[in-house]
Symmetry: C2
Subunit: 254 residues, 2 copies
């Protein structure tokens, strides 16, 4: 499998080494700007790298788009004029539909993980979601995904979009709840560190029992006095009070 | 230290064994109903247990109120007529103020943790918050807390109340975000399990880097297209859409 990687951002930095280790050959890298490109080329020992779309090799087996969502459509449309017709074009976006790539051999290869600049990714623990309407592409992508991850799933465009929405709640919004907790602590001279064991137990319980069963707190107990006290404490931050009120109502209704 | 434990709920089931192991003597248990009382008495090998307040021993050193918030004031007022004047009365609530106990030797002993019915608590990893306006009580409680936990903090009533509010965000609301994610997944035929590695990384990063720095997602990227798509996907659940909108706005403002 000869791969051309379009984009040299964080995802490419994590995914391409994993693909190499699984036996794929990364033959060329493209990025619109030079600096991250040379760094990634060095890391992967790939000689051919370019900032010009027209220099992209036409004869690879797989073109991986690891670029920002808002340029995937545009780059895919240019790419189909370059590559040979047996090649597969793949994007890695959780939100974009499959048909943003306007050719037959196409797919989505969406790793559901948060990638750090300074931490290696444990690919064996990273679920990979595959979407395709083409049996040939699906089979190729599934095989590659299974070589780097222990959990590979095929999904429809719609399911993937809902999974991505769920991930926003589970990752981004959960993180924001922790930001709010940190802010409340530091504003009142309390170390956020104190909450760490509680946060760790919360997640352990939620993943063990399921979050529905592990819900605790004033809302689930129907403890109106505490809820009213908290709303008074939040009255200087209108939106945060509203978030508190809405989440509390949802928990109570269950 | 002779301790009388008022209440035989989940907290008593976790805290009293820890106090016994640290060298305290639990001499009597009180609970308004019999069943949990006999179970706890058996677990602790404590012979004296009662459902009648007037039978509570007057000569213990420490009376631990492990009862529901809404009865702490009432029981404390009755207790001060029973116990000897050198004894300390302590409640364990994150929300109630210290002065709900109307005597001189008083304190709050608030373990910041979520207790499970079926899991032992790791007390070495459980922060204990001590509040008191009486030097004698403070010193006694601090000493006891240090024997069972590695992290003991003294705080004012106000700080403790804000810590509790922060804990609602960090524990209860974080858990609800995971409930929402689970619901979105199951409604669309996607296994919630797929999100587990992402959730674990999210928490690891948030606790490592701090949640402010580890924030990712469409809101922080200013990815309006994705945000609008998500709001459309949520339009059948008005409150959830509103929660999405409010949290997204807060993340963007930063």
């Amino acid at each position: 499998m000869k791969i051309v990687c379009i984009g040299a951002g964080r995802l490419a930095h994590h995914l391409m080494p994993a693909l190499q280790r699984s036996g794929c050959m990364v033959v060329q890298l493209y990025n619109r700007s030079e600096p991250p490109l040379t760094e990634l080329a060095h890391k992967l020992h790939v000689e051919s790298h370019t900032t010009k779309l027209e220099e992209i090799y036409p004869d690879a087996d797989l073109y991986f788009l690891t670029i920002a969502d808002d340029v995937v459509g545009k780059i895919a449309s240019k790419l189909i004029k370059i590559q040979n017709e047996d090649a597969i074009i793949v994007h890695c976006s959780g939100t974009l539909p499959l048909d943003i790539i306007p050719i037959h051999h196409r797919g989505v290869f969406y790793p559901l993980q948060t990638f750090s600049e300074d931490h290696e990714t444990d690919w064996t623990q990273t679920p990979i979601i595959i979407t395709s309407d083409d049996a040939y592409s699906l089979s190729k992508l599934y095989t590659i995904a299974l070589r780097i991850s222990g959990s590979v799933y095929t999904m429809s465009d719609e399911q993937k979009a809902y999974l991505h929405l769920a991930a926003v709640f589970a990752n981004n919004f959960t993180n924001h709840m922790l930001s709010v907790a940190e802010k409340i602590c530091t504003t009142h001279g309390v170390h956020f560190e104190i909450l760490k064991p509680l946060i760790e137990s919360t997640i352990k319980k939620a993943l063990g029992l399921g979050p529905e069963k592990s819900q605790t707190g004033p809302a689930v107990r129907g403890d109106d006095q505490t809820i009213e006290k908290h709303l008074r404490m939040l009255q200087e931050d209108h939106d945060l009070g509203e978030i508190y009120r809405l989440i509390t109502e949802r928990i109570r209704r269950k």
